[in-house]
Symmetry: D2
Subunit: 334 residues, 4 copies
Amino acid sequence: MTVRFAILGAGRIGQVHARAVASVPGAKLVAIAEPVAAAAEAARMAFGCEIRSIDACSTAKDIDAVVICTPTDTHADLIEQFARAGKAVFCEKPVDLDVARVKQALATVAREKATLMVGFNRRFDPDFMAVKAAIDAGKLGTVEMVTIISRDPGAPPHDYITRSGGIFRDMTIHDFDMARWLLGEEVETVIASASVLTDPKIGALGDYDSVNVILRTASGRQAIITNSRRATYGYDQRIEVLGSKGMAAAKNTALANIVTADAAGFHEPPLLDFFMTRYTAAYANEIAAFVAAIADGAPTPTTGQDGLMALVLAEAALLSVAEGRAVQVADVTD
Amino acid sequence: MTVRFAILGAGRIGQVHARAVASVPGAKLVAIAEPVAAAAEAARMAFGCEIRSIDACSTAKDIDAVVICTPTDTHADLIEQFARAGKAVFCEKPVDLDVARVKQALATVAREKATLMVGFNRRFDPDFMAVKAAIDAGKLGTVEMVTIISRDPGAPPHDYITRSGGIFRDMTIHDFDMARWLLGEEVETVIASASVLTDPKIGALGDYDSVNVILRTASGRQAIITNSRRATYGYDQRIEVLGSKGMAAAKNTALANIVTADAAGFHEPPLLDFFMTRYTAAYANEIAAFVAAIADGAPTPTTGQDGLMALVLAEAALLSVAEGRAVQVADVTD
Amino acid sequence: MTVRFAILGAGRIGQVHARAVASVPGAKLVAIAEPVAAAAEAARMAFGCEIRSIDACSTAKDIDAVVICTPTDTHADLIEQFARAGKAVFCEKPVDLDVARVKQALATVAREKATLMVGFNRRFDPDFMAVKAAIDAGKLGTVEMVTIISRDPGAPPHDYITRSGGIFRDMTIHDFDMARWLLGEEVETVIASASVLTDPKIGALGDYDSVNVILRTASGRQAIITNSRRATYGYDQRIEVLGSKGMAAAKNTALANIVTADAAGFHEPPLLDFFMTRYTAAYANEIAAFVAAIADGAPTPTTGQDGLMALVLAEAALLSVAEGRAVQVADVTD
Amino acid sequence: MTVRFAILGAGRIGQVHARAVASVPGAKLVAIAEPVAAAAEAARMAFGCEIRSIDACSTAKDIDAVVICTPTDTHADLIEQFARAGKAVFCEKPVDLDVARVKQALATVAREKATLMVGFNRRFDPDFMAVKAAIDAGKLGTVEMVTIISRDPGAPPHDYITRSGGIFRDMTIHDFDMARWLLGEEVETVIASASVLTDPKIGALGDYDSVNVILRTASGRQAIITNSRRATYGYDQRIEVLGSKGMAAAKNTALANIVTADAAGFHEPPLLDFFMTRYTAAYANEIAAFVAAIADGAPTPTTGQDGLMALVLAEAALLSVAEGRAVQVADVTD
């Protein structure tokens, strides 16, 4: 069985997914929907697929699945449209910046018995998967403490920040999902701290660029997340899990796996520059997992509920910063 | 000039300091005060020094300086006794478990114009000093985020825990001092989270074994501290500083600097087992710095005020856990 | 311009190249020639290309270039056939096991003004390229000493060994080429030592499994190569270059970039298992370089002469082992 | 029992040994013999010991053992003088630059039933000991290939080179001993290559600065040694052993165990600068082993025979370079 895809949006992340679909056996890229003519034409040339409108994709007989890579404020509508059209839906995070709207979209998906996978690409990174496999194999014993160090090489453009929902919903959201995945228990309490250190304009836009978060589960497991919008040495992506029997950690990936030495000491290249290069394999694995779930009629490895819970943790973190207190997740979800 | 020392207490840490004094040029170990006869005799044999009473040490003409390694509840009294006796005083942390008593002792020291250095040995570790030197040389630009991962190989005996003042005052206190030193600004706000994960008896004693703390300064710099009383792979001691221009981190130290490989992969030995082996050089450097300050009539690199501030942060962390809120340091110091 | 390819031979390395051709922009896989019906059918299914005879490929109008992945003893004949047919030729190493036959084939290529690239895939590995770039950028100063540690995870089947021409012509030949590339000067003298340590049957077949070689250039630069047919921990591929100003080294690549720790210490996964996984990027880069050279009418980055010189060094090494002496390369080439 | 020491020669290595004797329990530094008055006085001040003549040391009742740190051409005579005087003798390598003279001195030692330990300090380095322990514990299976990368930070002064016996007898001699120790079998064949690359004056003095050596045992085990007199990044000291079951390697030691990062990538400090700092622990362990052997009446862990065999390998290497051939060790020893 070949799963036939349309990709909605041919921007940066749309191209990443188009490449992933092209590289995954059992998947075929049929069409891209992209309103900007030049971008559409570039995508057509690069991927050799058709250009169609979104509506044409949703009614097409030769399309089984859709990857939503359009701006965030269209996600929930498109999820509902394609769920109703009987297509399997893969949506980039977040489903929406508003918790209530997310719940509404998920309700539609449930009603339509549609397949919805939310894009938490990092769960599909080979190194992070190897850490998770070590946990699942019992090598760490009981998970106790998770440490996530996640730093972007630089802040996004100011207009992106304006539309992003803020650092917790845009950047930390990946780490919230990673923490949930690694902790193996739902988070009960969120404590967060946030500053503006790299660029005062980010503060002027009402956002932060430097945040730390502590998450706690009912049994007392804890995760700590440290984020910065600036790391001069590249895209810093580390996870570490401490358990009763031991520890597992994923290391960073450099531009090249070499070392040079001179009178000043030893030198290694900077890290890969951002998510498109760092998570190439993860994006391909993610689409492969989506394809496999469709082919097998099995649940997708990440779900709309995962998308909701990560957003809820972001809401709780914002509230914690605003009120200077530990926030119960239950208070946000209700 | 040779600084002549008495060491008060010949327990584990007393022996560490006796060895340090013996190895530092310009320092001479004259006497040890130790009430347990067998321990006193062992120390006499090992270090070739006299055994005297504490009072004899404080009145002796041939003693210039004293290292206080007795139980915590005697520290403040001994600091005052030896400050009044005109001796330079080096006291192991903490000065006292009670903030008010610490302030009182510091007032006595100030009144006597005595020299008091509080033992934050980690500031004298060669690797941590190299990180600090990178900061001071401007290599990192402005310090923004500090990350401290500090895990003991195992919890201390239950009766030690009872007398310790709890994990924040006993273990995290070192990390509080390290954070103050690396942040380069005083901490304004403390947020903490604490669990019991390694041993329920620790909880029964009213203490925690797994804690995370976020510290924030007035300008928004942040430090994150993660502590556990258990790390099966050894004494885990890492610091990392992110600045506007770059990052600096101290790595762990293993039992041997080797790697072996077989069909299961690559293997390196566990970490050094605890502070006596991990910080051998730090303890010697610390005493050398104390000796140098005495010889030069210069301020000591760590002070009674440093001891007070670390304790205050521990108080604030306890309060934060108890009340589930961010605690202003000013509220605790006043 | 799109370069249209035929691949001769659908064995292990033929499939590697088919995948590489499929992934390189500007290249198109038109046909595979494979005499074994089942293998041909599998290749057709996997790559969606036609199956043709070798002769049909050489006369086809819709084929511009050929990748020769057939058994070694057919390489020279096929190079000549396709050079005469006006196709650009990429041939897996070695051109032939016999120096005279190689020279003859290269003469035919020269006469036909044909394009011939010999497959030394390691020159296209991103890490090794980064080491070479450091040299070319002058970071090491004058190159003085090259160290190549190259170990296979296990020996090939005995019947492969019989046909392989022996370890120097089959395995070390890659390191000879790497040494020439890194030394930046032609090798003048070869000294080699060889033993049978991993499997006595290899000795019974007249081959070795453990060899060390020292190469020296006219100006006294030296390279040292150490090879073993067994490394339990995976495919060990390291290069290191010492120059007057500093050093550069490429590190190994593990199955995952993680570390776990327990009471026994720290553990990392074994290395990638062999050349198909270790050099995936190198094979793609290699074909891309071939395609670029054809498209630009430029010389290929590796040539028939490179193939010849690596074989000559293998001959010299064999002679050095046999006679227990340093062998002048000039004595072998004449 | 306390072993009472005299040290002959208060130069660089004499001071290293004086410090080692002072730090080893069970050893006592009684006297130093040093003809240069200023150096003698400095040693007396630094170590608080007496200054005596060599002859006074050899006849003294209060001296049990002697450490010979005088110029090489006095070693053999002093070994014989102190062996006859009934002192335990520790002699820095080499015993003499002439094989026949070494044999003569060892014969005297044997006749006198004296204790003689030759200083191959690297066998006592904790990291190298851990590699050896892995071999001895059977973790590597049968040892097959040893790789030693050993580079000095810079060449010694020209007048030292003149007296040194050349790079093989002065520098490689340590690696020859290390190879013998790790191979676990005597070397049968030596093949060497030598160039002058760092300083033409070294060539004018008849010496080399860049050498590679291959050693082979009767069963075919091989060791490869690569030496350079220049490494801009510090004192490069690596050993690696490949066996039938796996591999073990000792890593280098840097000035500090930290990493910094910036837009140019990751940086670590240079290596320790030379043997006095790199092998501090090894020198102390070495003297401790000497003291233990004396106290137990046991054989010393390194012997005069070890000193002889390392020198023989140096002779064989020189002959191999001169004649461009593999040299049988038996031809040099006879």
